[in-house]
């Protein structure tokens, strides 16, 4: 955009900090009126959960950076096997994550990636 040294900092403050914290602040005011055992809260939880799940699917299927260079099937396999291991090990997150990463690395060497 511009070559000014402060430009990126201004971007981080406005397009980063304000753009994310504004949602958290709205959440504080809107959440203050919710009852902990109310139906509305369950719906809000559903929306939040679906949103995070949408982010997860995006990070796997449409990633940025080095992950984008891995084939789509390998990324999907890594996530699916990772989740399967997580499920059968009695929901141990660390095993799920580790096996997902191992699948990605093993798959990359199998298809002859360098």
């Amino acid at each position: 955009m511009t070559d000014q040294w402060w430009w990126n900092y201004a971007m981080i403050l406005v397009a980063g900090w304000i753009a994310t914290d504004i949602w958290r602040w709205i959440g504080v005011f809107a959440g203050g009126k919710l009852r902990e055992d109310g139906e509305l809260l369950i719906w809000v939880r559903c929306v939040a959960t679906a949103l995070v799940a949408g982010v997860i699917a995006r990070l796997i299927l449409f990633p940025s950076g080095a992950l984008a260079e891995m084939p789509m099937w390998l990324r999907a396999a890594s996530a699916i096997i990772g989740f399967a291991v997580f499920s059968i090990t009695g929901q141990k997150v660390v095993y799920g994550v580790l096996s997902g990463v191992i699948v990605l690395i093993a798959g990359w060497f199998l298809i002859g990636g360098v």
Binding site: M1, Y9, M11, I12, A15, G16, A19, T20, D21, I22, W23, W25, I26, G27, V28, G31, G32, L34, E36, I42, W43, V44, R45, C46, V47, A48, T49, A50, L51, A53, G54, V55, I56, A57, R58, L59, I60, L61, F62, P63, S64, G65, A66, L67, E69, M70, S78, A79, G82, F83, F86, Q91, V93, V97, G100, V101, L104, I105, W108, G113
Partner: protein, 252 residues
């Protein structure tokens, strides 16, 4: 903020532990496997930030101030591609909508009736991101009300400080990250989110919402890259809510 906490200490009976005890409990609880995974994911981000030409100061500020990895990645992409401030702000805003319902759902759990200070709640809300949220939704309900907010602040503040510092260290130490390592660190986030979100799901409605989001997310992304996430949340969440309610009525 400290004066408010001290005042409350004097008001309450002696059996109630002081707020700083709960704050330190939160700090201690932060030393955990999820924190380790999140740290590794941010180390991966440090490599991406350096490769994108961000300075150390910019990387640190972004990690600490935005504090939600997917939004951090979106902003980095926006800065690298030379997007203007308004389009970048719109992109990040749309990518961060999830923080609102997440915070909304957390507030009734974390606050102590009318006693909780609004400013402290606003400060605490900054630490809402998947890791702290999942941990809080799972563990806070078992804690006494008076300690929850201080515990959450301790947990969130500790986590974001440590992770931001380690991101800085990784930025300085890793000059160039091998692509395979970088990709491995980047797959950590979604798999970790996937597992921890599932383990935080308390009701059938939560699990159904998760499946709906996973299916609708990519579909909406293809047809509506910008607003797709928003629709995924509203539509997926509402569908899951209604479906679970109907199923419960039928099987009751």
């Amino acid at each position: 903020m400290p004066s408010e906490i001290e005042q409350r200490d004097h008001r309450e009976t002696e059996q109630v532990e002081p707020q700083r005890v709960w704050f330190f409990r939160g700090l201690r609880a932060m030393v955990s496997i999820p924190a380790l995974i999140l740290t590794a994911a941010f180390v991966g981000y440090a490599g991406m930030a350096r490769a994108s030409g961000l300075s150390l100061g910019e990387t640190l500020l972004m990690s600490g101030l935005v504090w939600a990895l997917p939004s951090v990645v979106v902003l980095t992409g926006a800065i690298t591609s030379g997007l203007g401030m308004i389009p970048a702000a719109i992109a990040v805003t749309l990518a961060s909508v999830r923080l609102m319902p997440m915070t909304m759902a957390l507030i009734p759990v974390v606050k102590d009736g009318k006693k909780s200070n609004k400013l402290l709640l606003l400060f605490a809300s900054h630490f809402v991101a998947v890791t702290a949220w999942v941990y809080a939704m799972r563990n806070l309900p078992e804690m006494p009300r008076h300690g929850r907010l201080a515990f959450f602040v301790g947990f969130g503040f500790g986590l974001s400080s440590v992770v931001t510092m380690i991101t800085g260290i990784a930025y300085v130490m890793v000059e160039k990250m091998p692509p395979l390592l970088s990709a491995s660190l980047f797959i950590l986030t979604p798999i970790y989110f996937l597992c921890s979100l599932w383990s935080a799901a308390r009701f059938n409605a939560d699990k159904t919402s998760m499946v709906a989001g996973l299916v609708l997310g990519p579909i909406f992304h293809i047809y509506e890259p910008e607003l797709g996430l928003l629709w995924t949340g509203i539509l997926g969440g509402s569908l899951a809510y209604v479906a679970t309610r109907l199923a419960e009525r039928r099987f009751r």
